[in-house]
């Protein structure tokens, strides 16, 4: 595995090669990724990602907030899949607290989480295709993404930074008619995926730009801690939703698509299949949606209903205490991982028994996936770097935190 160790500072040795800077302001780097490339003609000899342009110190900020105040911060880590981050954080805190979540809240979480995956994959597909010259797909994808964002707005009042999942359940009961709207979307969506596939999968230009490009072997993917479609595209059959289920995912039936070539085309096909599987999970959640409360019965942790708060003394006291003092979490530590659209999203939370987390660490799937970029690109053409970046689906907010 000697070829996987990072190469030290790039200095042109002879006159043969040239150092080229790509980004951070570059439309195809999906945010503020900067790549330092050493090129020989059009061939990439070495590649060094330079990150940190979006570092906001969220982990440090979390240490100064109450547990319930951290939820809105988790949205902002990965702004394309806010609910996955919410889910991972609240699951970790619930594990620390040891509270049980009612089934309806769990199923709602699964449903919203899969809609988030669809949202994220649609943005990925649109921008990835745009990078490689297919403009139309972008417009099609954003058309359906708009529908998903409207669903988010219906449940949480926000299109992107939803903060819908709270410690102990979800923020609110979904509005009347919401499930019908989701059902309507779920009925329409598979034919839209056919449309995207009709534009790309058999398109000779698309196939030539992606097949056999930016290959990654299974051994390298595991050694470099890659996860999600990047790992599965290389033939490793591992999905946290199926293999280490959380939040009631063991009640759902879905296939985990696995590729074997480990190239850009395989990762594209996997994500498109995941779109279809996700909408299947949404339909199962709709069919089997349990009835009952959407918040756990834990008055010291979960905010009371507004109605109760206005009429009952006790509820008002709990509300006041949670807002002003937060809630104390028993001492301990927890690592909770969920399968985000990009791979293993993990939260490591250490509690010292107070109302503020002692340490919150986010394991960003993109940060680890980005490490695969040099081994994908070195020795190949510079035009394929853009395809490789798109295929690992990075979000710089998550990488830099």
């Amino acid at each position: 595995m000697a070829h996987l160790t990072p190469t030290p500072a790039l200095e042109p040795g002879q006159d043969k090669t040239m150092i080229l800077n790509m980004g951070p302001q570059h439309p195809s780097t999906h945010g503020v990724l900067r790549l330092i490339l050493e090129i020989d003609g059009e061939t990439v000899v070495r590649l060094l990602p330079d990150i940190g342009y979006l570092h906001t110190g969220i982990e440090k900020t979390c240490e100064a907030k109450f547990y319930h105040q951290v939820v809105p911060l988790t949205d902002r880590i990965d702004y394309l899949c806010p609910m996955t981050n919410n889910l991972c954080y609240v699951l970790a805190v619930e594990k620390l607290l040891g509270i049980e979540i009612p089934p309806k809240a769990q199923w709602l979480r699964v449903m919203m989480n899969e809609l988030t995956r669809i949202n994220s994959h649609l943005v990925w597909l649109g921008t990835h295709a745009l990078d490689l010259g297919a403009m139309t797909v972008f417009l099609y994808c954003f058309r359906e993404r708009e529908d998903v964002l409207r669903l988010f707005e219906a449940v949480s009042g926000q299109r992107m930074m939803t903060s819908y999942f709270r410690v102990g359940g979800v923020a609110l009961e979904p509005p009347l008619g919401f499930f019908d709207r989701v059902r309507d979307f779920a009925n329409r969506f598979p034919s839209k995926v056919d449309e995207y596939e009709g534009l790309l999968t058999g398109n000779p230009i698309w196939v030539m730009r992606t097949k056999g490009v930016a290959k990654l072997s299974a051994e390298d993917a595991i050694a470099l801690s890659a996860s999600g479609p990047t790992l599965r595209g290389s033939g490793v059959d591992f999905d946290l939703r199926r293999d280490m289920p959380y939040s009631g995912y063991d009640n759902f039936k879905f296939k985990v698509p696995v590729g074997k070539d480990g190239d850009v085309f395989t990762r594209y096909m996997l994500r498109v299949q995941e779109l279809r599987e996700s909408i299947g999970i949404v339909e199962q959640a709709l069919d089997g949606m349990p009835s009952g409360p959407v918040k756990a019965n834990a008055p010291k942790v979960v905010l009371p209903d507004r109605e109760k708060m206005k009429t009952e003394m006790e509820a008002l006291i709990y509300h006041f205490k949670i807002i002003t003092e937060g809630f104390a979490v028993p001492e301990g530590e927890v690592y909770q991982a969920v399968e985000s659209p990009r791979g293993e999203m993990g939260y490591y939370i250490v509690s010292d028994g107070s109302a503020k987390p002692y340490r919150v660490h986010m394991r960003a799937a993109c940060l680890a996936n980005l490490q695969t970029l040099p081994s994908m690109c070195e020795g190949h053409l510079i035009a394929d770097v853009v395809a490789a970046i798109g295929s690992i689906d990075i979000v710089l907010g998550e990488i830099d935190r």
């Binding site: 595995m1 801690s225 301990g332 993990g346 935190r401």
Partner: protein, 165 residues
């Protein structure tokens, strides 16, 4: 799902594949264990860490072949000040284990595991950047997120959340 007290008795937890593998290799390498909230933590002796990781990665019955994460916690002002935490995952057995190494606050340094998992690269650079823990044997230990000329390590507990230092 009421909380049960953590188990810290080594004798009780000996059956765990990772612990038994480490003890059969070198009993001194395991400083302590903790089983809390369904998660296994093994406190590993500082100098044994890299070899312990390599052993667990290649263990025959339960290979912890995937490095999920490395992170660090600062327990300022108590001593040993830093804990570096390794989250390992066994893809074939679908199991996690957490390795912990305690480091003093004077000159926190530790052997890099980049020779075991090349994917440790960014994780170790991030810890070096934000906590100032050095990893010997890392070929490119430079700041990852903060600017190159930044002074101090922001995630240390004696570094303020707001304002200038």
């Amino acid at each position: 799902m009421a909380l049960v007290p953590a188990v810290t008795d080594l004798e009780q937890l000996k059956g765990h594949p990772a612990i038994s593998r480490l003890i059969s290799w070198n009993p001194q390498s395991v400083e302590g264990v903790k089983f809390d909230r369904d998660e296994m933590t093994i406190y590993v002796e500082r100098s044994a860490l890299r070899e312990a990781c390599a052993l667990l990665r290649d263990a025959a019955n339960c290979p912890f072949n995937y490095l999920s994460d490395i992170t660090c916690v600062d327990w300022y002002p108590s001593e040993p000040r830093f804990e570096v935490i390794y989250h390992l995952l066994s893809i074939p057995n679908k199991e996690r284990v957490r390795l912990k190494v305690r480091l003093s606050g004077e000159t926190p340094a530790l052997e890099s595991v980049i020779s075991v998992w090349p994917g440790a690269n960014y994780f170790e650079r991030e810890i070096f950047d934000l906590f100032g823990v050095r990893f010997s044997g890392h070929p490119y230990l430079r700041r990852l997120l903060m600017p190159e000329n930044w002074e101090g390590h922001p995630l240390r507990k004696d570094y303020p959340v707001e304002g200038y230092r």
